[in-house]
Symmetry: C4
Subunit: 230 residues, 4 copies
């Protein structure tokens, strides 16, 4: 079932090491079929070199396995919670990519300091809080999803305008309308995290991008009158 979506999720997972975002089996990409409410996700701890599209696991919106012989990613319930809450999301990616993880470990929001950021993220990428001990004990992976939702609600953010988050002490999650879009947002997030780290080192007084330039770059690519691309 869902052969095409499995192929897409498989390809999205392969893109992650190709872009230098994951080592070994760290990281996972998924996508959802919104008509059937079924999620396709990478199996847990399987080597990329031998992994096949048919190894992708199908789970429902509670994270229960519907099809597949392998265990799904240990982060499956985080994906499921996000898909359930945000109907506009079609694909999700989690990595420990170096530079985004550094901001996550530093516990800092990633501010929009340049147009590379503005081309893809409409404002700061938030850093979510640590889970409490009670949340860890209750259901670590599902609660991770709830903390992401809480973060976006508290800051009144639109998940398609800011398609990613940093989990404090952990690493980034990104998403988009498809798994492929989520991969692209992962690549951008990691690059922007690198740019901004060294920008601060070079000039601790470096300014955030003026709102007018942030608007211009985000909207010329994603707004109603977008004129970037074909």
């Amino acid at each position: 079932m869902l052969e095409q979506l499995k192929e897409e999720v498989y390809q999205a997972n392969l893109e992650l090491p190709k872009h230098g975002l994951v080592k070994f089996t760290w990281g996972n990409a998924s996508a959802i079929d919104r008509e059937r409410n079924l999620i396709v996700i990478k199996p847990s701890g399987v080597d990329y070199a031998t992994m096949k599209p048919s190894d992708m696991v199908v789970v429902d919106l509670e994270g229960n396995v519907v099809e597949g012989n392998l265990n799904p990613s240990s982060d499956t319930r985080t994906h499921a919670v996000l898909y359930k809450h945000y109907h506009e999301i079609g694909g999700i990616v989690h990595t420990h990519s170096t530079w985004a993880t550094i901001w996550a470990q530093a516990g800092l929001d990633l501010p929009a300091m340049g147009t590379t950021h503005a081309d893809n993220f409409y404002g700061s990428v938030p850093c979510a809080r640590f889970l409490t001990q009670a949340e860890i004990d209750r259901d670590y992976e599902a609660e991770t999803g709830h903390v992401i939702i809480e973060t976006f609600q508290q800051r009144n953010l639109n998940v398609l305008e800011v398609p990613g988050v940093l989990l404090k002490g952990h690493g980034p999650f990104t998403w988009g309308k498809s798994a492929e879009a989520a991969v692209i947002n992962s690549v951008v997030l990691d690059e922007v995290a690198k740019l901004n780290l060294f920008t601060r080192e070079l000039n601790s007084y470096a300014e955030k991008l003026p709102q007018g330039i942030l608007d211009k770059h985000y909207l010329r690519k994603h707004g109603k009158n977008a004129y970037y691309g074909q």
Copy 2:
């Protein structure tokens, strides 16, 4: 039309990811035919893997499409303004290359701190100011070109001696007598930006290169009595 120039521009664009200066479709290279006053430029948002020389777009000095089925780069008017003003320029490259972009985000001129710099840039590479809201609203891409010209005029710089600029909060533009030369200047600019960032981190009192060594290195390669190369 302009088949050879299209091939050159196509090759120059392919050089950018090869040198690690662009990810995805970020960045663009162009060249001009000075006899016909026609610019050849990369199409907007087209994948490098499938892009063909015949996909290159021909535009006039106002940035209007003269030939081509694809939309030209969204930065086309910046290129056009520069070609129109500086007759000595034959090729232009724009990237968000990591280290040059860091200096652009920091809003700092890139000083000549070593001979790697002096071999290619005869003095500091200036960082141009942010565009005003009025400029953004009027014609963002064309005004970007005008701010570059303003910067070179205010500092009394020769565009062939200093073949590049940093756009504050954005990234570098470089140029040269050909698209290939502009690519080389992009590579050098990014490397020098990396060298100088870490030089400052290592020694915040590091000096600029003495004028005599700057002269020697620039002129032995680009002066009347140059003796570098064949």
Copy 3:
């Protein structure tokens, strides 16, 4: 003799340059056959490109050559001391990998600041002290092993829970149940060293991972009820 173990050790050594952890012939991997108490280790200073499985050297627990035409790694006695003392170790790797070596040169323990660390190391990776002149003169390589043992004893650490150490002014040793596991721990240690260095640069007040999250990540992968992987 020990043909299969030689093949494993050979492959483990080849993994090191593939993961960017060693240049030239720096670094060495070994494994032990616990039934025969024989160690298989890389020969000293032999080029990876021409090295064959049959070049691996067999030594006993004192580091004496039992089979092989080549000299074993100059660090052989350090490996032997560790195998002799810690019966739970099956493979050992030594490198001068960039980021772990930086922490070793800085003389600092590597704290658990994120889940990348917690997934593989259950707490700080200790930095062992410099050897004294007397130790250097007595038997440098064997004493290096003793200083590692001393470090783990003083801190009351379990070598399988914290499968690595930093040697002050030198570089990392890692280990595991097999040579392959030791290689993985080397890769993780180097990545975590990079993450934590830049985390500190970004935010000098960055916190260590809360104990509850450290527990959760280490134990979901390595505890009794582990549910990571297949």
Copy 4:
């Protein structure tokens, strides 16, 4: 003439981009035939992809071309001065490798902070002073060689024990008994420069390696009773 030496110098030059030490045509390697007092060196500004062993240029100890259709490296006279003064040197390499160049731009000696350094350089790698205007005007490249000699004399250093130097505001020169040895020393110097830069960033109080460990590592590889390698 000197076909074998040309092949060695050609291979040494190709190693430089392979190890990430040079971009484009920056950098040059040479070797000397001590019986004939003839130096073989890379031609100036020739592309590595098309360069052939027969393109190597033969010059005498004054830097005059003895054989070859191409201009020798613009740095030829620096090489010649060093070969003439130091009879123990068989090969020389000059690059603008990133991390060594950063120390050169910072104007700082590279101290021995770890065993990676001690395995190849017996103490600090000195940073030579800027040339004076008179020296630049007289004969820039030859005077560069004289400043290197001056630096080693003032500090009473043995060129085989410390087989490299940083030229202030420029980059490294390394050497050895052969061109291949000089290449290895270039790789080590760049890696050590990277290690030490970030060691200082991580811990500004990081110590130099104790003399006893410096002795042990240098001498077990290069001393009378060396036991590293085969």
